[in-house]
């Protein structure tokens, strides 16, 4: 799962959690409000409900605070573990928190102080005194009204008691009461006094509570329901003035009720007198009352009010702090997360994952950056694709070049000609295996060296001239044959110098190609010598027999015709002719054998019997010993010719080297996979300069030697497709190494025709 998707899941989870908490907070706040505000009267169990809801709210705030603290702790750990983007996130969070926290805390303390001050002002003694005075004024006013009404009531009661209590059966005379309040009685001073008193309601009952008389004055316009009997009954028991009030359209009707009593009759009825206090006065009085009562209540609830206000302020502040921290965390996260995503994406892209894409929905700068990053990634991917394609092409070309180079190197390595390239300064840049073999040097010793290192001494002066000649001649290449001395061995080379030119015709070096013609020359020389030998044998052999026969005839016929001294001379001369002719015949026979070397009749056979025969031949002359290893295989040889090889070599050791011991060792060389026959003697050996010429025809250091013995050996060995070489033995003598290829022993050579094979094995 990518870091991006992990972030997204986590963010969504937190969002959902925060959303649920916020929703629950809202729901429970509403429930709380409803419980407090609208459920009237609050049942006993509602207190439990309210506190449960408050506790749930507190729990939710705690959960919110836990989330905030968890995020803060997480941020701290991220910071400590040096997580990418944590520092930026921390800085942003701290900055946002400070920005939001400082004014919030400041506001909290100011509000706290303001609240304290406000409460102190509210419950200031001056205010309390003012309110008490105001309510006192209200009370005085109200009492004054009552007093006034009481006075009027007294006056009217007295008038009714004195004037209208005439009939002992009827307690109150209705006509009398009417007269008392009628306009006709205007001249009566008592009536005039009554009418001056501002009353708005007058009601008179008999002692049984029956309405006797009732009258209303403006501003009362509605009918006033008379007091019920029960109320009047209470009046009769109390015998005191009762004050009551009812609301009318014009204001509040204050009523004073009392029994009407006379000394003679006692209770003769009830009087209720009322006055309307106007709406404006009542409103003001009510306002004063309400203000006073509210003040008293506030004073009474001062502590819970203070607690509740401070708690609310604290909770709101806490909520603001948490929300601001939350917001700070979210905001910092919203900034750092794209940065982290970008960093992660960069890391992944650095690791080569160009398929990675960042998702963004917003339109802000960071979203723009993410989009730009995606574009860059796409471009990078395209560029990489192109680069890979180009790389593939290059690799293909390189592979082809390498293949070609390897092919050329293979050609150079396998070509028998030596190939050396020089740079314009004459430094050796390349040298092939054949060149190294011909020159008997290591490539690593020559690369980078001057071409003078190829050949030393006098031979180089001729070689040095060639580049100059080449440049001077204007030709592309020149060719010359040289004879050079390599490790004391003279080699015949044909060397070609070619100028290496680039496309612009500039000389970029010299190519030296040379062939070792030594062996070719030897073969050619051998062939020439064979031809010479054949002709000599042919030309000399024919006259030799008549010469010898003639000499013998002369000796036989005329030997006895001479005397003494002449006879001796004649005999010696004819014997010389005959003997020399024999010698010449032998020589001619050698020539003839050399010239007419037959093709070997190869047969796989054990070498042991051949060597036993050789031992027997030379037993009287020298000590010939043989050592044959157990793993020495049977080899394809012509036994007669191989015998000739051993005889010629041992003869040479005896005659030229004066050897007394010859050791023949046969073993298998596992390194070269060859069957090796060593023939070592303890003779006087041969000089280093002559050692390369020993196989040349007619090269001999012994007196009377034909120089054909080892040449014949070489011819026979070549005919067997084997090799022979000679080395100096230690402490003295020489060693001949004859090497038969085991492959050629076991399998017929592929270059041999079927006929040849048939001939060989027949």
């Amino acid at each position: 799962m990518s870091l991006n998707s992990l972030f997204k899941k986590k963010r969504n989870r937190e969002r959902v959690l925060a959303g649920i908490i916020a929703l629950l907070l809202l729901v429970f706040a509403i429930i709380e409000y409803k419980l407090v505000a609208f459920i009237r009267p609050l049942p006993r169990y509602s207190n439990v409900l309210i506190f449960a809801v408050i506790n749930i709210n507190l729990l939710l705030i705690l959960v919110l605070s836990f989330l905030v603290i968890r995020n803060l702790v997480k941020l701290l750990f991220e910071e400590r573990s040096h997580l990418l983007g944590a520092k930026l996130k921390t800085k942003l969070t701290i900055a946002f928190v400070i920005v939001s926290l400082l004014p919030t805390i400041l506001l909290f303390f100011i509000s706290f102080q303001f609240l304290q001050t406000s409460l102190a002002y509210w419950f200031d003694i001056k205010i309390e005194r003012s309110l008490e005075q105001a309510i006192s004024i209200g009370r005085i006013f109200y009492k004054d009204q009552i007093n006034q009404l009481s006075s009027i009531e007294e006056l009217i009661s007295r008038q009714i008691a004195t004037r209208c209590n005439t009939n002992p059966t009827d307690f109150l005379d209705e006509k009398c009461i009417n007269d008392l309040f009628s306009p006709a009685a205007i001249g009566d001073p008592a009536t005039a006094c009554i009418r001056k008193i501002p009353i708005n309601y007058l009601c008179i009952f008999d002692p049984f509570g029956n309405l006797v008389w009732q009258k209303t004055w403006l501003p009362i316009t509605e009918d006033i329901h008379p007091l019920d009997k029960r109320f009047l009954k209470e009046l009769s028991t109390k015998k005191q003035r009762v004050v009551t009030s009812i609301n009318v359209a014009a204001g509040s009707l204050i009523m004073v009720a009392k029994q009407i009593q006379t000394q003679e009759s006692g209770n003769i009825g009830y009087i209720v007198i009322g006055r309307v206090l106007g709406q404006d006065i009542m409103t003001q009085l009510e306002a004063v009352k309400q203000g006073f009562e509210e003040y008293k209540q506030l004073r009474l609830f001062q502590t819970p009010l203070k607690t509740s206000l401070l708690s609310t302020l604290f909770l709101i502040t806490l909520l603001i702090i948490f929300v601001s921290i939350w917001f700070a965390l979210k905001l910092s996260k919203s900034i750092t997360e794209p940065v982290m995503m970008l960093a992660d994406a960069t890391h992944r892209i650095a690791q080569g994952d160009l398929n990675f894409r960042l998702e963004t929905k917003g339109e802000d700068e960071l979203s723009g950056l993410v989009r730009a990053f995606n574009t860059m990634t796409r471009d990078l991917k395209e560029a990489r694709r192109k680069a890979e394609e180009a790389s593939r092409r290059l690799l293909k070309s390189y592979s082809e070049l390498e293949h070609r180079k390897a092919y050329i190197e293979m050609l150079l390595e396998n070509v028998t000609a030596g190939v050396i390239s020089l740079d314009p300064k004459g430094k050796i840049t390349t040298i092939n295996k054949s060149a190294c073999q011909i020159l008997e040097k290591e490539a690593s010793d020559l690369i980078g060296k001057d071409y003078k290192e190829l050949i030393h001494g006098d031979d180089f002066s001729e070689l040095e001239r060639m580049p100059r000649e080449l440049v001077g001649s204007g030709r592309k290449s020149i060719k010359k044959s040289f004879r050079i001395n390599v490790a004391g061995i003279s080699k015949s080379l044909i060397i070609s110098f070619s100028l290496l030119k680039d496309k612009n015709g500039r000389i970029s070096g010299v190519l030296i190609v040379f062939d070792d013609l030594t062996e070719l020359e030897k073969i050619q020389r051998l062939a020439a010598w064979r031809e010479v030998a054949r002709r000599i044998a042919h030309e000399i052999k024919n006259p030799l027999t008549p010469i010898q026969l003639s000499a013998q005839r002369l000796k036989r016929k005329f030997g006895n015709k001479f005397h003494d001294k002449e006879k001796e001379i004649f005999k010696r001369c004819t014997d010389t002719i005959i003997n020399q002719t024999d010698e010449l015949k032998k020589l001619v026979n050698e020539f003839s054998r050399f010239a007419r070397m037959p093709a070997p009749a190869l047969k796989r056979q054990d070498i042991k019997p051949i060597l036993r025969e050789i031992e027997e031949i030379y037993r009287p002359l020298i000590n010939v010993s043989t050592e044959i290893s157990k793993d020495f295989p049977k080899i394809m040889v012509d036994s007669e010719q191989i015998k000739r090889v051993f005889i010629n070599i041992i003869d040479n050791s005896i005659s030229a080297g004066k050897a007394s011991n010859v050791l023949i060792r046969c073993y298998k060389d596992y390194d070269t996979d060859e069957a090796v026959v060593e023939i070592a003697d303890n003779g006087k050996g041969i000089s280093r300069t002559d050692i390369q010429k020993v196989f040349d025809p007619y090269f001999s250091r012994k007196k009377g030697g034909t120089g054909l013995g080892l040449a014949i050996v070489k011819s026979i060995i070549d005919a067997h497709e084997a090799s022979i070489e000679i080395k100096l033995n230690k402490p003295s003598g020489v060693i001949f190494y004859i090497r038969f290829s085991i492959e050629s022993i076991n399998q017929p050579s592929s270059i041999l025709s079927n006929d040849q094979e048939d001939n060989t094995y027949s």
Partner: protein
């Protein structure tokens, strides 16, 4: 001489006992029979703590609710014969300087009084509340009567009253007074 620990115990216990004594309680319970009915009378003692008195004088109406339950004792559970809830309210008019009392049982009644002491007498004296006709009671059977009084603060016009309501604890509930009698 009391040991110090015991002294501490008593000193801690003393306020508790004082509190117990000052707590509202039902007393002077009396059952009477009149005209074939069973009546109950009782008083609420300490029904108006000083704080409540202050509350009333500040214009906040206060309700006193008396719950009377008559049950016949059974083997497993008691059968409820009668349950009565009496509500009496008191409010004070600061302008008129009078206490207004409202009774809802046995009939609605409004009483205005000058003095608080008189108002308390009216409020806390429950006289002759008819429970059940005697024919509903069985001779020799055991009955229980549970009486409980509680007080609630009424609505006020004070600002933040809803908020204050959460934090203030005006109002009380007396212990249930329970007694048995055999008819």
């Amino acid at each position: 001489m009391l040991p110090p620990m015991l002294l501490l115990f008593f000193s801690l216990l003393a306020p508790c006992q004082a509190q117990q004594e000052n707590r509202p309680r039902i007393s002077n319970v009396a059952l009477t029979i009149n005209k074939g009915q069973l009546f109950i009378s009782f008083n609420l003692v300490n029904g108006m703590p000083p704080a409540m008195e202050e509350l009333i004088k500040s214009g906040v109406p206060v309700r006193y609710i008396f719950n009377i339950v008559l049950k016949k004792k059974g083997i497993f559970w008691n059968d409820e014969l009668k349950s009565i809830e009496l509500i009496r309210s008191i409010s004070f008019d600061n302008l008129k300087n009078r206490f207004f009392l409202y009774f809802d049982y046995p009939s609605t009644k409004l009483v205005s009084l000058d003095r608080l002491e008189n108002a308390k007498k009216f409020l806390f004296s429950i006289n002759k509340v008819a429970l059940v006709p005697l024919e509903r009671l069985e001779k020799g059977k055991k009955y229980t009567i549970e009486i409980k009084a509680r007080c609630e603060k009424g609505e006020s016009s004070m600002p933040f009253s809803r908020l204050v309501k959460i934090f203030s604890s005006f109002g009380f509930s007396s212990k249930t007074y329970e007694f048995e009698f055999t008819f």
